[in-house]
Each structure stands twice: as structure tokens, then as C-alpha cells.
Symmetry: C3
Subunit: 334 residues, 3 copies
């Protein structure tokens, strides 16, 4: 069995098929924990996880926070408003100070691509990329892989259609790397202005019209239209976008009946998805949210283990069923 050896999780591009499957296996084990009355295991007790979200975020930050708490880690919130950044400190100086405080894991979101990788090179602490610019959002990509595997039983050979602003989407990039590595056939679809040129060389088919690829799709991932950015440069209007690429009941008539519908959230209702489709039977959006915690528990647990060199049989040890009562359980983990 593969062992996890990476200090950091910076993107899915660099992960092997075996590493992806290792994370998904570990997440499956943690999913069981969340069904218990006490949703907590002592796996990261006494370890500290710093959440450095230097771009606003609720869902991803909250998901990491709950994941870390359910692993019994201590959490440090570093937010831009309260940050020394207002005193002119650089990101690297902040990271080195966090490392000096013996924080084991630093989760970073930053509006500039490459910042998590730069920090990872500079410090010994593990770094997890929680979204950097338009580069990658690897844990969202893993959540989507996990959810597809749960609902479809496999990833290999599935037709996955990603619809929306491919150009700016770090989610789309992580999805593309993860899905193609595990053997899915990916088609990206959106207005020509929002599809990066040359994306075919990464293994994706391109379609500027929704109808045809939708008919063949097993999985549809609708991306969020970033209403807060000025996207007028790219699309005539969000109304026009919705007419062509918004998913509603009418358009779904041409799709397979067992198509599942995903979205990284939060949904602009009536833009990417009509409300009845977002809440409909094919939507697995809330399951993505639920799975997010198990997947992030897995990632936190694996990088912590690689760091300390002690994660021998990670899947079993981490989810010991009586976390707080049994000294043996704890000793074997730490």
C-alpha cells in the first residue's frame, strides 16, 4: 500500500493516481466518524492548525475548521483584518513567525497564484493550499472526486462536464487534474472568452455549446460565476450567460436520468442553476459540503503524519472508535 510522504498539499496536478486514491480511502474512513454521536477523534491532539485566509471565505474556512476540530487539533485563525500585514509585514515573515510558534500545519488561501507553494518552500510546517488565485483549489477537487465515487461507484470512464468560467476557476483546474488522472473523460464548456486557449493539451475536450456534451454526461459540475468580479469584459450579461449555460429543468431534459449535478458553492441561484434544479433530486451539492469535512480531515491527517513520520497505518489508526476513553488508541496515534 502506498504511504503518504508529502509535507504539503499544493495542487492535484503533481499527485499520482495512488496518492489520490490514498486520500480518498482515508476520507472514506473519516466519513464513518461523522456518523457517530461523538464526531471527534484524537488524531491531531496537541497539534496546531493555522487557518490563514487572506481572501474572504466562509465555506472552505469553516470546512477546514470543523475538520481540524474533529481531529482534536488546536486552531489559530489568521485573518487579513487582524493581521500584521497592516503593519507592512510580508507573507513570508508572517509564515516564518507561525512556523517559529511550532504550528504544524498552515492552511493558506491567497488571491495570488503560487503563494502557498512559496510559503511551503520557506518553512518546515506543512502547507495546504485552500485556493490560490486561479491556480488550484485541491481540496475542492478532492471533495468532487470523493462525491462522484460515492454516487457513481467509480470515476474511470465517466463523462464529466464542467460548465462555466473555466478561465478564472481554480476549482476547474483541480477538477481537471484529478479527474483525468483517475481516468474520467472531461469536457469543459462555456463562452469562448471564458475558456483558456490550449486547454485541450491538458486532456479536456472543449465545447462552446451545452446541449451536445450534456447529453453524454454522467456528472455535471457547474462553476460559480464570480459576480463580484467585473465579468462584463468577458460576457455580455449574466442574463445572457444563464440563457446559454445556466442549468434548468428544460435543459436537463436532454441529459441522462442518472446525471448528478455538482457545484462548489455558494450557488448564484437563477444564474448557474435554477432554484428547482439546485434543490432537485439530481443535485448532490449538500453532499459535497458534508464530504468536504471528511476529505479535509484526511488531508490534514496525512500531511501531519508525513511531517512527523508516524502515520504508519493511517486509515485504521485515525478513526479508533473510542477516541477519548482508550489510552491504547491514543498512544498508537501520536
Amino acid at each position: 500500500m502506498t504511504r503518504w510522504t508529502r509535507k504539503d498539499l499544493l495542487g492535484l496536478e503533481e499527485l499520482s493516481r495512488e496518492e489520490l486514491l490514498l486520500i480518498l480511502d482515508q476520507a472514506k474512513a473519516f466519513q464513518q466518524v461523522s456518523l457517530r454521536s461523538i464526531k471527534k477523534v484524537p488524531a491531531l491532539r496537541g497539534k496546531t492548525v493555522a487557518l490563514c485566509f487572506l481572501e474572504p471565505s466562509t465555506r472552505t474556512r469553516t470546512s477546514f475548521e470543523l475538520a481540524a476540530k474533529r481531529l482534536s487539533a488546536d486552531i489559530l485563525q489568521i485573518q487579513p483584518s487582524s493581521s500584521s500585514l497592516v503593519k507592512g509585514e510580508t507573507v513570508l515573515d508572517t509564515a516564518r513567525a507561525i512556523e517559529a510558534m511550532q504550528v504544524e500545519i498552515v492552511v493558506i488561501r491567497h488571491s495570488t497564484s503560487g503563494v502557498p507553494a512559496m510559503v511551503a518552500r520557506a518553512i518546515r510546517s506543512s502547507v495546504i493550499n485552500a485556493g490560490d488565485g486561479s491556480h488550484e483549489h485541491p481540496t475542492q477537487g478532492l471533495v468532487d472526486l470523493f462525491t462522484i465515487l460515492e454516487k457513481k461507484g467509480r470515476i474511470e470512464g465517466l463523462n464529466v462536464l464542467i460548465v462555466g468560467d473555466i478561465l478564472h476557476s481554480r476549482v476547474a483546474r483541480s477538477n481537471l487534474w484529478g479527474l483525468t488522472r483517475l481516468g474520467a473523460k472531461v469536457t469543459v464548456c462555456g463562452p469562448p472568452t471564458l475558456i483558456p486557449t490550449g486547454i485541450e493539451s491538458f486532456g479536456a475536450k472543449v465545447s462552446y455549446r451545452l446541449e451536445e456534451p450534456l447529453g453524454a454526461a454522467d456528472v455535471l459540475i457547474a462553476l460559480r460565476l464570480q459576480m463580484e468580479r467585473q465579468q462584463e469584459k468577458y460576457i455580455p450579461s449574466s442574463r445572457e450567460y444563464t440563457r446559454l449555460y445556466g442549468i434548468d429543468r428544460e435543459k436537463l431534459k436532454g441529459a441522462k436520468p442518472d446525471l448528478i449535478l455538482m457545484h462548489p458553492g455558494p450557488v448564484n441561484r437563477g444564474v448557474e442553476l435554477s432554484p428547482e434544479v439546485a434543490d432537485g433530486p439530481q443535485s448532490v451539492i449538500l453532499e459535497q459540503v458534508t464530504n468536504g469535512i471528511a476529505v479535509r480531515m484526511a488531508v490534514l491527517y496525512l500531511v501531519a503524519g508525513a511531517h512527523s513520520g508516524s502515520a504508519d497505518s493511517p486509515v485504521d489508526a485515525a478513526v479508533h472508535p473510542e477516541p477519548f476513553e482508550s489510552p491504547q488508541g491514543k498512544r498508537s496515534l501520536t
Copy 2:
């Protein structure tokens, strides 16, 4: 003995006398916990409490936070600035995402009346109203009942005078429901513009002058004048308000010597209460703050038990005296 069966606590209006007494009993048990050196019990270990304060608040939020921590729950802070609400997400979408993260209890404060009830209908998680518009602030109402019971030994038959902006006060509404249900005689007093018409039909007497009802009162609850709202529409000036309705040593000369003086805080010193009265021997304002934690522990504990169906003998089980040492104690709770 009554058992608690409600998933949510949305207001005192809908609670029976037995339900009110059950909460007060449970709070009494938790009050003992706060006298210990280790003020913590494992009752909600592994459960998550989300604090969604979408209106600024320190006291109530802090009180809920400490209550949840002393029950060993994990806490998730959802605040407006960091919230997806800036991305245009609706309150219901946020609530459904929180539910999907398997958060057991959601505490909500919102400036619009009815939002907690709407959320409670939409999700399986328990919802506690921490103040909604001018509708209700049920835990503050319970704190006041608890404090009166502590100081007076009973509620039935007491004369309680509520002074101030009755029209906009959710505290006044929760006080009115709770006090009348437990048999107190309530008089509301304030300028005519700040007394809602028809309030007599809810069991309160109305007085526009302070002197007469003050002479008969056993308990006086002074409400906060919301200086931050433009109340010029309702009162000529805060100076004029204070002259007529502000409580000072002079006015208290006409009151019973064992009158107790309450205020939900924070006090505008020199407006609702003169400083010497706020800090004087009849004031129980700081006891209200202390009791707030025991009362909120009780509410969190009861709704969590109703949710999981395991709160058999809540009063005894929750306050087991050696919470962290005794495995038996923990097993019986979870």
C-alpha cells in the same frame, strides 16, 4: 416529570409553564458547575454549536460561547463580515450548508423578526433564537426569570415593572411571555410613543408614569434605550427620557426597600439608570450576566438532547461532578 421535546428554542410565547420550569431547573443544576474549579462538563463533547450573529453583539454571543465551551462543544463562529452573505448567499443557503456540515445546534441573531423560525423549519439542526428583530430574545427572558427566582424565591404573584422602549424591545416581549406564564403581574411603563397599542391583551398593565407602579414593584427591569437607532422620532431627547423614566436614587425613594433592579445590559449610564443605582445594592445586573451562562448551558443541553433523543434525566446526568476523570460519567451522557 416533564421531558424536553422541542428541537428548537424560538421564543417564550410558545412554551408551557412546565417547559419554562424544566429549563430553570436545568439551569440551577448547571449553576453548581460554575462554582467548581474546573467549570466544564463533557455533555456536548463532539457536538458542534454554530454561533451565527448577523447583528453585532458581544454579551449574548460571549455568553453562548462560554456556555457551549463549558459543555465541551466545538464552536463555529459565523460572522457577517466573513460570511458568504457578501457573495450574495441567502440565509437559508448558509443554514443548509451549516446543516450539511453536521452542526447540531445553530444559534442565530438577526435583525429581522422571524428569521430563526424560518431557518428552524428548513433544517434538521436545532435552532436557538438569540434575538430576532423586535420579536423575542428568549434566553434573555429566561435569564431574567432565573435571576428573579434566585433573588425572590418565587415568581408567582410578584409585581414586575418593565420600563423603557417597549415598542422595539424583544427583551420586553420575552419577559412578558415568561413572567405572565409563571404568574407574575407585569406593568409596562414608558412614553406613549414607545408602548405598542393593544399590549394589555397580552396580560400587561400599562402606565405612562413611573411613580405609581414603582411603589408596588418587587422587580424593576429597565430596558436599554437604543441610542444608535434614531429615536428622536419617538422621544424629544434622551435627557427628557431620563428625567421622566431614568431610575436614580431619588426616584427609588418611593420604591419597596427589597425591590431588585435588572437591566439586560449594556447600560447607558446616566440614561436608563444613574451610575450609583446601576452599581448600588439593589442592582442584580452582574448576577444576570453570571446566570446567563448557566441558563444558556441548560438551553443548549436540552435542545441537543431532544435532537438526539438521549436526554433521559437531564438535570442529573449533565452535571456529573468529575467530568474528565470518569468514563462511566461520560458514557451515561453521550
Copy 3:
């Protein structure tokens, strides 16, 4: 052996040599804890530490937060934006409400000198000054003492040079009190406008030029130039300041080879210190950050013990090696 008897830590000025050494001893014991895989001890389990940072701060707040978490305390963050202060509540009212919630320790940073002392007089909870105006920053002073002791093996007889804005620096004041009390010879150096008149009476020598005292120094503490304040009134320009008082490789040629270089952080790179010197072999800046946690654990632990009257043999008891497994260990602490 001295016992710690103070409820509060407000400044180093009032501490005896024995008290300073007691804190440093306790910090040494906690430093060992941070080398373990599980960096947590149960010493403050069930106690609450409120962090009231009414001035922006990341490093000191984070350091106190980690220190409190590694002692297993519960933490309450009170920040200006979320604070009742916006409702016009006074600092004292906030402090009394925090006391009423049975919070054992209140850590306060405030832009006005003397606020922590005022609060300490008003409430029974322990108060720790985390920096008040230009008065004192006692835990930073202790961190510097601890770091010097670690690197040099002693403090008595050392030549310590403090460079920069002595006039506004609470760090300089705490350093001065602590260092002279433990027998170091302190020289302060900076532009005449930034040296308070009469500072010689507190035991410091004064130099307006860097070269001479630098040659004799064993320890150099560079202070942060508060770029955010309008210091144009005091210095012609930060460029001119750097030319005269900024430390770079060139100026260090005149210093002892075993000089150590300290800075309370965050560094304005290229102003107080050149980048190659800040990251160079003589810099112990990141060790100051690491030591900050052990020192603050010691302070939190000692004031908590003085408060409860139970800290009999603090050094040993607090760092019991198997904190979560051993009931005896815990009983002896609480």
C-alpha cells in the same frame, strides 16, 4: 523558593529579581513541553482566558492564544469591532461583565497607558498587560530576558544596547526595568528627539550615536519604527534614520562577533535592520517568537495559581509528561 503571589502582571517595574527569575524558571519548564509531540498540558483546563486586544495585534495575540491553548484553557476573543464598545460601553463595564462570566484571566492590550492597571483594581479576575500605550509590554520584556539567558547563559554584567524610538516604546520600558533588575548594563541609543529626557535616572546610559556602544554590546535590541504613526515630527525621514541607526552588515563589522541581535517584530526590513542581518547568523528574532509561547504559558499559569491559591510547586506540576492519560497528574494540578 519564592512563590508567585500576584493576581496580575501589569509591568516589570514592580517585580523583584526573585519574581523575574521565578517566571523565567517556569518558562524553562514549559519550553520542554513544546518539544513534545503533544504540546499540551492540562494545567488550565476548565479555566477561561479572555483576550481583549483593543488595538490591532497579531503576534502578541497569537502568542497568548497558543500559550493558553497549550495549557488547555478555554479562550474568549474580545475584539474592538465586535465589542460592546460600539454601543458606548466603557472598558470597565466590559471588564465587569467578563468578570461576572467567571473568566479567570483577562489579557488586555490598550492604546492608553494605565488601562490594564485600572481594570486590575476593579475586578477579581487576574489581569495581564499585553501592551498599554507607551507604558509597558511586560511579556515581551520577559521574552527578551528569557532569550538572552538561553543564548548567553546569564544576564548579569552583559552590555545591552537598545536602539530606536525609546520615547514611544513600551517594549523599551519593560526591557529597561527587567534588564537592570537582573544586573545588565543598558545603553539606549537613537535620535535625540526619540530619547526621553531623564531616562538616565532609570539606570540607562544614553548615546545619540550608534558606533561606540555597538562595539561594547553583547546584545542589541532594535526597536520597531512605528511607520504608521506620523513620525515626521520626530525624524527627518526613515531613510535618514536607517542611515544613522539601521543595523546592516557594514555597521556590524564594529561589533563583537558573538553579539546577538533581537527585535520584537514585525521588522520593517531595510529600516531598522537590513534583510541580510535580520536573517543572518546573529539574529535570534525567530527564537524570540518561539520563546514567547513558553514565557506566556508561564505567566498565565502563575497568575492563575496565585488567583486560586493552588500553585504549590508550579514548575514541576504544570508540565507533567502524560497530561491526558494520568488522573493523578491532573488531580495534583486543579
